[in-house]
């Protein structure tokens, strides 16, 4: 990290977590008392948080196989998703839905932040032990699938909020502004459609790597493996419900939320290929 500007090297998780929290508070303020200045301030804090987050991930590349690295990287991609949506869908309460998830993931990551003396940083972002390329492919595919699950989860939350608004016959101009039910459903559908192949290939690559090493199967007792397979099964059910049974959006939203719960469980445990190999 020689030659790096000193200020950038001092960026901590607190810096971007605080920026996101302020951006969220301003988004909430704007939702109930709309003021353009509040909106711009919120975007400013969101952008600052995103910048600090990116700098942190670039300068301190924790491996994707670690819980801290993977959750932080997932939060970064979702922060980009937040910022893109906040700029492009200015009339929607985008930040109110996406920022809590970003913040939640950042806070989850801090629970697994390596203490001084642990050498996780040295192995790089895609620092899977052994077969570097396939390890990286496995990590990236699962990470992108996780992004899809998170987007699907966000769409499901939006769906239920919109459903509540319709049930209570709340004025379309009152409270938080959302996309219509049909568009939210389409967002959920696309997220599932994109995630399922990524998750499937990611898992196949992971199993192949395990076999290639000739190591003993980590087994279904490994919570990460178990929850990942559970996630895959839920996704398969989701696709079946969507295309074979033509289930209603409400049912699909509930299953997507279940998938997200499994993702969080999977994220809580270290990858079996992570340094040391133990979960």
């Amino acid at each position: 990290m020689n030659g790096m500007p000193a200020a950038l090297s001092r960026v901590t998780v607190f810096c971007f977590a605080a920026s996101y929290a302020i951006a969220l508070a301003l988004e909430l303020w704007h939702a109930f008392r709309p003021r353009p200045i509040v909106r711009y301030a919120s975007l400013g804090f969101g952008a600052a948080g995103l910048f600090a987050h990116a700098i942190y991930v670039i300068l301190q590349p924790f491996p994707l196989s670690s819980t801290f690295g993977s959750v932080l990287f997932l939060a970064l991609i979702l922060a980009v998703f937040y910022f893109y949506g906040a700029v492009h869908h200015r009339k929607l309460a985008w930040g109110i839905f996406v920022l809590p998830l970003v913040l939640g993931l950042v806070l989850l990551a801090t629970a697994f932040q390596p203490t001084n003396g642990q050498d996780e940083v040295t192995s790089g972002i895609f620092g899977f032990r052994g077969e570097h390329f396939w390890g990286a492919v496995h990590g990236i595919l699962l990470l992108l699938a996780a992004v899809g699950v998170c987007v699907g989860f966000l769409a499901s939350v939006m769906y239920f909020v919109q459903l509540y608004r319709l049930r209570a016959k709340i004025s379309p101009t009152h409270g938080v502004r959302l996309w219509n039910l049909e568009r939210i459903e389409a967002m959920n559908r696309r997220a599932i459609l994109c995630s399922f192949p990524l998750l499937t290939i990611g898992l196949i690559v992971g199993i192949a790597l395990q076999v290639h090493r000739g190591e003993a199967w980590v087994g279904f007792s490994n919570p990460k493996v178990l929850s990942s397979l559970g996630l895959w099964v839920v996704f398969a059910i989701l696709l079946y419900l969507r295309y074979a049974v033509h289930a209603r959006g409400r049912q699909l939203a509930l299953w997507t939320m279940a998938a997200f719960a499994l993702l969080v469980i999977a994220l809580l445990f270290a990858h079996p290929f992570a340094n040391g190999g133990a979960s």
């Binding site: 709309p34 353009p36 459903l163 608004r165 016959k169 379309p172 219509n180 459903e185 033509h246 209603r248």
Partner: protein, 423 residues
Amino acid sequence: MNLLLVGCSFKNTPIAMREKLAFDGPRLSAGLLEINSRYGCEVAILSTCNRVELYLAKQDSPVPLTADLICEFLGEYHQVPVEQLKQHIYAKDAQETIKHLFRVTSSLDSLIVGEGQIAGQVKKTYDDAKTQGTAGPILHPLFQNALQVAKRVRTETGISRGHVSVSSVAVDYVREVFDRFDDKTVLVIGAGKMGELTLKHLRELSPQRILVTNRSPEKAQAVAAGCGGQSVPWEQLDDALVQADIVLSTTGAPEPIMTRRRFNDILAKRSGGTIVILDIAVPRDFDPRIHDGDRACLFNIDDLMRIREQTLADRKKHIAPAESIVDQEVKRFLKDTKRRSHGPIIAKLTQEFEARRREIVAQLLAKLNGKLSEPDKAYIEGAFRLLQNKFLHGPISALAEDAPEPGSHTLLEALRKLFRLEE
């Protein structure tokens, strides 16, 4: 500034009189040209169903424009006795006119506060005056500012948020559920007059097809022909509901035509998504218990009226912030106008000093002819220019910052006298 407003509005003038005074079609351009040529003033006419207002301006005229003069013109032009006219007409001086136009354009003076049409009507008024060449140095900035103020009020307050017509609120709800309409079916039940406007709004969404059903097949066919739809026999109502995504019901039936039990059977046959039912019939056509907010979203006339009242009440909350924006903008406009009026005297002052400087420098250089190099000459010229600028900086800055009240031109007069500037 010689600015005057003469007009009448729904607040103090009955519709019969407003109709008589309206400048519609060719009468508008003829009226603009007539006033412009007769009184030699700038003029713009705002003529809507709720108001007729004439904005008149004349720059630096010793004879001010008067409301009486314009009333006489209006009486003559519209063949209305002047005495009768004067009972309804209001007139406003320069400052009041500016504030009034800003309020009107921002829809603070409208029958329904926050309605969006008036800004477009003011823009048309300005465009007409521009086209006829009757807008000049006073009306151009006045109308441009009025439109900007309206935009500021609209974006910084929630005064124009939401819809206040029942049909628009109904379509807002439809938009809360559906994203695209080219694959949707609209079913119209009944042929009530109340549904006509809502059907017009629904047609603007360009649905894939419109089905119309009525107890009377002739009426169904007539409505279908009018909206480009196809009629469905009344006996096939349930089948039509199975296919429909949006239902507009406006029958005159004394009892609900759709009970909960009957509708549940229909829901069981439906393979599509949510069905939105707009029941604007009185008495209601659909059992209100049908609404579950998921498979069926039912909005009846009470729901739509409640949203309308809510929107109107919300708009009232934004009147005070909107008025304060208007007040700020009026002050700013007056200040800018006064600054602009100082422009000619500043130009005159600069020209006078420029001429004197050139004269003195020319004399000096002639006296030192042959003794100075080109760089020396340039240096001397630069030094004199610098001196001139330093001398003028103080008076010009003071004048630019000065925004006296109407009628007091102390600093301007002082500068004229001190530097002997002729008009």
